[in-house]
Symmetry: C2
């Protein structure tokens, strides 16, 4: 196997990789803790009580950062969502979920054999989730099944359009009907500060490798007080071990990387406004050029940008590389991360780029669009 | 956080860490793939189909190494065991399991709400699992519940005594009653070659970080042909995604580290006989000294050694550090990994040590036992 050097050799616009880039400090420390059970040197049976590396400290910092009463680290955001679902939902129960949710949210519902009722987005071109629609769908569930849904799920920022949803409004509806609300913030919290106690919801999901600059895989499940006992039941035979996590979860690179990333989380989230500015600057410049159209809400409130690009598609029609010409032309200029083959529409992210890199990305895309 | 240097600065006897030590090559390559979604550069929706890093190749190599029809990589051995259990067992079903099983095996059974029937070990001092007892327990299940058990579980080498079990004999019983047999080989396969097709059983569980010298967390689930379709059902909405794994599992350090480790797996397993010799040499030398007694089967067929140590315990009685004196005395001589506080009995492993290190370990323990 050869080492990966894409991050060093190119400007990488792949949105899924933008928030999981690690710092030099993280890489050094993770490397020292890389062996199979390296974090277990001082374990006395519970991962979250390990003093060195300081997982106790990580847990306390994360509880504070998320504004929750307790937190658990899982193998990923999907596992955190599923842990809530398998506790709250029985086969046949109804759950209300936004259309823009990540595929793993839908698979979690499928695995627990619950019935999903979807809050549709507004369709082309903004694809927005309107909080008020949650009430309509709750009423629909009641009408069709004669019962209220057992859980509401909202994707705070989705991975298709990078749309930001007003969760507070959905939580007002959740409270009105007394239905627990799960906030999937995998694409937001860690890039920005998100506090569950300010949202008022019941569960918040984060992802170390998606938004905290951590190596992962590591998911974060923050819960408000009333849920801790129901969700984290201990084994009857092994009282230090929790049943649903099978006793222990994210060790080594995953947990150490998150701990290191959290040491500078306050500096990281302070940069969020500037990140949004970069995204909007690029979108505005490209739209003014003509032949580029933002899909999703405008202005951007997140770095994930989904563009419809008739100007690129027009070139692809007569290019010998067809749709692949675009990613190929960008790669020649040192830019990667646009999915090869796509020319009608594609996703990118400006997260973590310098302003001069963003300007360079604009210039390269502009030149390609002009056939230069 | 400070870097961990225990592995460089000390001889480490901790059995849980012995088989998960990474090579320099693994650390370099893992470091290059450490970012959150680094393995996803060329992903088209299925982890096991990624060509670079060569996860396709890893999968094929592992299928061959395990003598199975198909394989899946999970977040750990416990998740692999649970994937089998949640598919084969319903609440209230019976499962037969050896008394020496890992706690996570029992928690898996608890989570799926199955009823466990235990095959007892032979007790002090050998604590052996006798294969023939599986038949007695199967009959007991039939008598008590009027049904046969739905699954048999055997821990091929356990983590308490390092006892090796003759799985073939258990499989003959499994076949006689037509009950699927799961072999938990987390402590063996990867140190040694274990082939499911030679054992004849249905499922084999491995652990990258426990026995393959991989960083982890990564579990390995190998299955014989008839089980692939039942276990790995695809999502109805996302046809590339498997439901029980929630669509994707061990990425980055976990999967890359295992792939690198597998490049030299054939050389690794060739050293197994020599590893056994080291373990037996140390046990024999200590037993001859007096005041040390091996718990578990003899001679050792595994590097995990559990010793009863009245001679150490006697010193602890009158030592100002009590039981902690022993780990402390060893640490002064550059040896760690014996659980601090234990003096009556403790576990250690000689895996991966050089012969001169094993001799040094013997000399240090001997001197401490003699009060020198």
């Amino acid at each position: 196997m050869d080492p990966r050097t894409r991050q060093e050799d190119f400007i990488n616009l792949n949105p899924i990789q933008a928030g999981g880039r690690t710092s030099a400090k993280t890489r050094v420390l993770v490397n020292s803790y890389i062996d199979g059970y390296a974090v277990c040197d001082q374990c006395k049976g519970a991962l979250s009580e390990i003093p060195k590396p300081d997982i106790v400290g990580l847990k306390m910092t994360m509880i504070d950062f998320l504004g929750v009463n307790t937190v658990r680290f899982t193998h990923g955001a999907r596992e955190a969502k599923y842990l809530v679902m398998e506790n709250l939902l029985e086969s046949g129960d109804s759950v209300v979920v936004d259309e823009n949710a990540h595929y793993s949210t839908f698979i979690g519902i499928e695995k627990v054999k619950a019935k999903k009722f979807i809050v549709s987005n507004t369709g082309y071109p903004k694809f927005k989730i309107i909080p008020e629609k949650y009430e309509q769908v709750i009423k629909k569930v009641k009408k069709e099944t004669n019962k209220f849904p057992k859980l509401l799920v909202i994707t705070q920022v989705d991975g298709h359009y990078g749309n930001f949803v007003n969760v507070k409004k959905i939580n007002e509806i959740a409270k009105k009907y007394d239905i627990p609300l799960l906030v999937n913030s995998a694409y937001l919290v860690g890039r920005a500060e998100v506090k569950l106690n300010k949202l008022g919801a019941d569960f918040i999901i984060g992802s170390g490798h998606k938004s905290f600059g951590a190596p992962g895989n590591v998911g974060i499940l923050g819960v408000s007080n009333k849920w801790a006992e129901k969700l984290f039941q201990r084994s009857s035979d092994f009282p230090k071990k929790e049943v649903d996590s099978l006793g222990c979860t994210a060790r080594n690179a995953a947990i150490v990387g998150l701990a290191v990333a959290m040491e500078s989380i306050n500096q990281r989230v302070k940069k969020w406004d500037e990140e949004i500015k970069k995204a909007n600057w690029l979108v505005n410049k490209l739209e003014r050029l003509g032949g580029f159209k933002l899909l999703g809400g405008k202005p951007k409130q997140h770095d994930l940008i989904y563009l419809e690009t008739p100007v690129i598609n027009k070139i692809a029609q007569s290019h010998r590389k067809r749709g692949y010409f675009f990613a190929s032309a960008l790669k020649d200029k040192g830019i990667i991360g646009i999915r090869p083959g796509l020319s009608k529409a594609f996703k990118l992210s400006t997260y973590g780029l310098t302003w001069s890199q963003v300007e360079y990305v604009y210039k390269v895309i502009k030149d390609v669009a002009k056939g230069e």
